[in-house]
């Protein structure tokens, strides 16, 4: 399986892609790498940081892989797309281009993952016209230094995240 390298403020983590389960999503992600941006901490899905995909990196992919019915485990790396049709209130913490439509890597780094208000969102799994969430990779090396950096984002603000191919 192909591997990804995550670098967050000097801390590194490695993830393995689920090429055997969601090959088209993995190909699309691989093709846009490297991706970098200022990651922000979640406020609905608990221990998650997000990397928004913008400009030429934006991905609008169909759903792929078995339905997960909203279940998320720590270490999951999820491709997330949200339709412009979704009302989320004012999104002042996000850049203006992400006020409605959103394309991102959702990176779950600890427990609880996916809990909170996200867990009972009635639109999860409602249809690909509203949201697409595809689990496409999982961390296989997630040091505490990396998870500490993730946790720091919620208190200290945005941190630069770089996602690259790990060439073997």
């Amino acid at each position: 399986m192909r591997k990804l390298h995550f670098e967050l403020s000097g801390a590194s983590a490695i993830a393995e892609m689920h090429d055997d389960v969601v090959p088209k999503t993995c190909d699309a992600v691989w093709d846009i790498l490297p991706v970098e941006g200022m990651s922000i901490h979640a406020n609905w899905a608990s221990r998650e940081i997000m990397l928004h995909l913008a400009g030429e990196k934006i991905l609008r992919l169909p759903p792929e892989g078995p339905p997960r019915h909203g279940a998320i485990a720590p270490g999951d790396i999820v491709y997330f797309w949200r339709s412009p049709q979704m009302s989320q209130g004012k999104q002042l913490a996000y850049s203006s281009e992400f006020q409605r439509e959103l394309s991102e890597f959702a990176i779950f780094y600890g427990e609880p993952s996916g809990g909170g208000l996200n867990a009972q969102d009635p639109t999860r799994g409602a249809g690909a016209d509203l949201e697409v969430t595809t689990l496409f990779a999982t961390f296989i090396d997630l040091p505490s230094e990396f998870t500490d950096r993730c946790e720091e984002i919620r208190h200290n603000g945005l941190k630069k995240l770089i996602v690259k191919r790990l060439e073997t």
Binding site: N43, S46, L92, A93, L117, Q120, R154
Partner: protein, 149 residues
């Protein structure tokens, strides 16, 4: 009318306490004010900012709702895992005072909605808080202050 001032960074707001609806909670709150603490943004409830209150008194369930609204000032016991990176050894929840600054928010426990004591309503300055909190999400959180007016 009993009011409190809430400060978050450069933003100031005023909230009216619901003395009639939450007499025990408002009495308790007055005993712990003024509060000056690290402001923490919710990771699980949406647009909520809160402060941990270090007080051994038990706050009873009162004036409760699972349908928190923008401007609500709430008091409740938040599961510790939403505050700390791992479960503390012997602490399972933290007493918090928090406010909701934008819609698409509701307080959650480990397995579903969490009823919270509605202790007051922000009557002035919610827009300022609604701009300061997102700024802090991007730039880092400072202190939250709550004091009697």
């Amino acid at each position: 009318m009993t009011r409190v001032k809430i400060t978050l960074g450069s933003a100031e707001a005023l909230a009216e306490l619901d003395v009639e609806g939450a007499p025990k909670t408002t009495s308790w709150l007055k005993t712990v004010l003024p509060v000056e603490a690290q402001a923490i943004h919710s990771m699980e409830n949406g647009r909520e900012v809160y402060a941990l209150i270090d007080d051994p008194q038990q706050v009873p369930e009162e004036n409760q709702t699972i349908y928190q609204c923008v401007g609500d000032l709430v008091v409740y016991y938040k599961p510790a895992i939403f505050v700390k990176p791992t479960w503390p050894r012997h602490v399972r929840s933290f007493l918090v005072v928090g406010f909701i600054y934008e819609r698409q928010s509701a307080i959650r426990g480990m397995s579903g909605p969490l009823a919270t004591n509605l202790v007051g309503k922000i009557t002035e300055g919610i827009d300022a808080l609604a701009h300061e909190a997102p700024r802090m999400r991007r730039e880092g959180f400072g202190e939250i202050g709550i004091s009697l007016v």
